[in-house]
């Protein structure tokens, strides 16, 4: 019984780690970038550059967030 209950939890935990990992801001920014691109595409704007731009900015942001800051515990692991 415990195995039946723990399996969905383990499944959800796996997908959370796969998608969000240890820096939720990256997944959130990518999701926003994709939604914004889809909206622009529906308005006939071919915004192929938007998600690559989000990637370039978020790599820098995530690298900075991975640096240990005294007193902060929510940052990603380096």
């Amino acid at each position: 019984m415990a195995r039946v209950i723990s399996w969905p939890l383990a499944f959800a935990r796996f997908w959370y780690r796969f998608i969000v990992g240890d820096d939720w801001t990256v997944a959130a920014a990518v999701a926003l970038g994709l939604v914004a691109t889809a909206v622009l595409n529906r308005r006939s704007v071919n915004a192929w550059w938007l998600v690559p731009l989000v990637v370039i900015v978020m790599v820098r942001v995530s690298v900075l967030r991975a640096k240990p800051v005294p007193g902060r515990r929510d940052g990603p692991r380096p």
């Binding site: 969000v20 990992g21 990256v26 997944a27 990518v30 998600v51 370039i56 790599v59 690298v63 990603p76």
Partner: protein, 251 residues
């Protein structure tokens, strides 16, 4: 060139582009996470692909590839970005450390007893999506020319040839320092993920598939700049103390 040869060569070349993406993902994930679960994932991908292709036949082209590209691309993109950032911080901190490092010491290598689902899912999705694209190419080229046999031959030959080249290059891949390998695979997953996700939305890339090298170059440049900035920061901090004291936070 005869009609059969024309279809064979055209299908081979078009399918080879997709097969390169498939093999790159499988080899990169296998070298970084370990081979057992990666091979299992790739095998499961081929199995599902075979069932879909045999079950649907010519109706294959009715599968909505756009949503599949968006889902697979978005997942590869968010996961690839995690390795991209970890690769940047590890290379910035350790340089090309790990050139002769024991693979078992690498934190990214799966050491659990069961299946490494991360490697499994990455390999499965890469094989299924790219395999479906090869199948679409085969069906459309074969049906248009009325020579399905030649198109199937070209598609299968492309996957086999690219797969053999990938296996042959395995030794070279395994010689890449572990920290750099994670960065390279992260950049590749991010590149393919960006490309597929936006294609799935309906965005048209300038230059079509030719946009992939451009994306790759932009992301390599991003990694290089970030590593340079981080290494400069480390060396500036390290100057008064001695390097090892400052870099311990990266380990």
């Amino acid at each position: 060139m005869t009609g059969v040869a024309t279809v064979l060569v055209k299908t081979f070349l078009a399918a080879a582009v997709e097969a390169i993406e498939m093999v790159t993902i499988v080899v990169g994930v296998g070298a970084t996470r370990g081979w057992r679960s990666t091979v299992l994932g790739a095998g499961a991908g081929f199995l599902v692909l075979a069932v879909v292709v045999v079950g649907l036949g010519f109706a294959l082209s009715a599968i909505p590839i756009g949503p599949l590209r968006l889902v697979v691309g978005a997942l590869l993109l968010v996961f690839g970005l995690q390795w991209f950032r970890k690769g940047v911080t590890r290379v910035a901190a350790n340089g090309l450390a790990g050139l002769r490092a024991n693979v078992a010491d690498d934190p990214e290598v799966w050491r659990g007893r069961g299946v490494d689902w991360t490697a499994f899912v990455l390999a499965f999705k890469g094989v299924l999506l790219e395999g479906l694209e090869v199948a679409f190419i085969v069906v459309s080229f074969g049906a248009n020319a009325g020579r399905l046999g030649a198109a199937v031959g070209g598609g299968v030959a492309a996957v086999v040839v690219v797969g053999v080249v990938g296996i042959a290059l395995l030794r070279v891949v395994l010689r890449i320092p572990r920290s750099l390998l994670q960065l390279v695979v992260g950049i590749l997953l991010t590149t393919f993920g960006s490309f597929w996700a936006l294609e799935g939305i309906g965005v048209s890339w300038p230059g079509g598939d030719g946009a992939i090298p451009g994306l790759l170059a932009a992301y390599v440049l991003t990694a290089t700049v970030n590593i340079a900035i981080e290494r400069r920061g480390v060396s500036e901090c390290a100057a008064p103390f001695g390097r090892s004291e400052v870099t311990t936070w990266h380990a």
